[in-house]
Amino acid sequence: MSTVVEAAAKNGKPRHRGKVRVPTITLAHGGGGKAMHDLIDDIFLDAFDNEGQAPLEDQARLSLADFAAFGDRLAFTTDSYVVKPLDFPGGNIGKLAICGTINDLAVGGAKPLYLSCAVIIEEGLPVETMRNVARTMAATAAEAGVKVVTGDTKVVERGACDKLFINTAGVGVIREGVDLGVDKARPGDVILVNGLLGDHGAAILNARGDMSLTTAIDSDCAALHGLIDTLLSAVPRTRFLRDATRGGLATVLNEIAEAAQVGIEIYEDRTPIRSEVKGFCEILGLDPLYLANEGKIVCVVPAEDAETALAALKSHPLGKGSARIGEVTDHRPGRVVMQTVFGGRRIVDMLIGEQLPRIC
């Protein structure tokens, strides 16, 4: 372990920071010697420099009082990010790694405070790529008001990982009185989403370039804690929130139906999906309900709070496209049913494996 965060000053004098003077990262940068220190200094400290953190230690030291000021419970989460390609329209792996972990904290009703950042780099990665990712992470964290306070760097042989893997863990504090849970959905509750679904999944598939489609779809990657804070302030009785990442909307709805043993009914014509994403899915034989999102939450709220919740979501820049897409029912517990645009009904099941494009 090596700390990423060091104080810029030691014994009152500025410490000399190392520079990486080669274009690509090699195994030497993971060896624990000068090359590694140069990499940490030049890339990570340069990006994540936090004042007031303990210098040169193997752990971040955080004041309990700072936590207690915000609520009565800690939320703690971790997630690993392995996206291909590293850069995609609307973001890169760094933005994803910050937003994703912030969102995992926020959907529990927590105020995100501190993150860690561990990177596993495949030898041969251009230094500039790593620098760009680190800077994006720092900028995203700063904008979100969270601090990256500890980290780790490993370099592995070519083929042992794919360019760059990032793990971020996060801690936050849950405000008093908020108690969200997947099993709390009750028949009669209303289901809301905060905007267009499937953009991230479509953007990533499109960015891989296999399809030679020229449609521009940007990932919706965003930190949602501000939006969630707005919602929870307006409707503290909110039952449940979850970010609809891998497996998309369909997966989250199935998780709710299963955990709370309720039925869920959604309406295809009220489910917001942009026409570019629909067209993309038509061509490939994919279902947008299963496409990943990185800036969308599914909200379950009591029916009497539905209008207040929708108005709160819409009042936030990341919730302008919010919509009420369905209801929780007592019909067929454990199942998600969709009323199709055509007027028929279908079951929306959990995906078996990865969604694979259909032959014809």
Partner: protein, 383 residues
């Protein structure tokens, strides 16, 4: 979405449903069984479930989900051959996405990939040819499968490979043809069918004259239909109308895409590259004469079966599977002994559970809601 939403209009659907309901009393007079209509094509099956078309139909009409999912009807022995090819040293094996999960006797292509084979998903055989040109020191094999819909693009790829002198490209040919298969279904003694929805995309290539024997010899109506839910509903109405009026004809609902004579450029390419096999094995249906094609001798250098040694072992379908009976409409998916128990989309035993176009997987995942629910409840009680 332009040019798509028009074909999903719920008001027009209600209009057609009213027309269909009006036909029903006369159609059912004197019958003890419902009207059985088979959609031959897997694309139709997918759309029927995707839009819940079946849940909208009045009582007295049953849709039989036919054999038109090329991924589903592929026998296990052929998948084993794919896996063997994929594991050959230096081989890059390319395939359409939904063929990745089809179980072989030991591995699927997805498992072969996890176990070290270089299996790559492509969207067109031309992608495969491009990979061959980019990797001149490796062999690249394309898993060619599908009905006449995908055959032209494979044929054109072979013609281009020949013209460009690409020597490290082959295909493992599993293309099948629709007409002998419909004939085999019609000849089956336990069949109860009143009419067909004909495959839109296949017909775009082969035209509509090839279906004439169905109307003339077997006296069944067939309506070629498109893949949007309104197309399907319209097609069903046209079949019912023929029955009501005592007609048996080949009609074309999908005339915005299907020319009566088919696509001669595509047919020429198919004719140049492929010839009929004596017979081809189908999962669930057994061997059907002249139902598959292979590569002609002039293009044998592109034929993986001739260029490499493939095991070519025949693997019998699991005994407990009743895919054949489901395909012919003799039983419904949920009547099968293993449906939802030993045979699920995660661990498919039978062909029809493999792809979302397969009748069983479609019922399992999208559901005829009440029936699936009942079956699942039943299954859960029994387990």
């Amino acid at each position: 979405m332009k040019y798509v939403d028009e074909f999903r209009d719920p008001e027009k659907a209600q209009f057609l449903l009213t027309e269909i309901r009006n036909l029903m009393p006369n159609l059912l007079k004197g019958r003890t069984t419902p009207i059985y209509i088979m959609e031959v094509c897997g694309g139709h099956t997918h759309a029927i479930f995707r839009y819940g078309v079946e849940t909208m139909l009045p009582d007295g009409i049953e849709l039989i989900h036919g054999p038109g999912c090329p991924v589903c009807v592929l026998p296990m022995g052929r998948v084993d051959d794919c896996v063997a090819l994929a594991h050959m040293p230096g081989m890059i094996f390319t395939t359409f996405g939904d063929a990745m999960r089809v179980p072989g006797s030991k591995e699927s292509l997805l498992q072969a990939k996890a176990n070290g084979a270089d299996v790559r998903m492509v969207y067109s055989p031309l992608d495969s040819l491009r990979i061959a040109k980019e990797n001149p020191d490796r062999q690249v094999c394309f898993f060619a499968l599908g009905f006449e819909t995908t055959m032209p693009s494979t044929a054109l790829t072979v013609l281009r490979a020949k013209k460009e002198g690409v020597h490290n490209f082959t295909l493992f040919c599993n293309h099948i043809t629709i007409i002998p298969t419909i004939k085999a279904i019609l000849d089956s003694p336990d069949l109860q069918l009143d009419g067909f929805l004909g495959p839109g995309h296949v017909s775009m290539v082969i035209g509509n004259s090839s279906y004439r024997f169905i109307a003339e010899h077997y006296k069944k109506p067939l309506v070629i239909a498109g893949f949007e839910p309104l197309d399907i509903l319209h097609g069903i109405w046209m079949v019912l109308k023929q029955i009501a009026e005592g007609r048996t004809e080949i009609e074309n609902q999908y005339n915005r895409v299907v020319p009566n004579g088919g696509n001669t450029v595509a047919l020429d390419a198919i004719g140049k590259v492929f010839e009929l096999r004596e017979f081809f094995e189908w999962r669930g249906l057994g061997s059907i004469d002249h139902s598959g094609v292979r590569i002609r001798d002039e293009y044998s250098e592109f034929d993986a079966e001739r260029r490499f040694s493939v095991p070519a072992l025949k693997i019998a379908d699991p005994k407990s599977c009743q895919c054949g009976e489901v395909l012919k409409g003799v039983i419904k998916p949920w009547d099968c002994k293993v449906f939802g128990r030993d045979c699920t989309p995660e661990t498919p035993l039978g062909a029809l559970m493999v792809s979302s176009e397969g009748a069983c997987a479609a019922y399992y995942q999208y559901g005829d809601i009440e029936k699936v629910h009942d079956t699942r409840a039943l299954v859960e009680e029994m387990v």
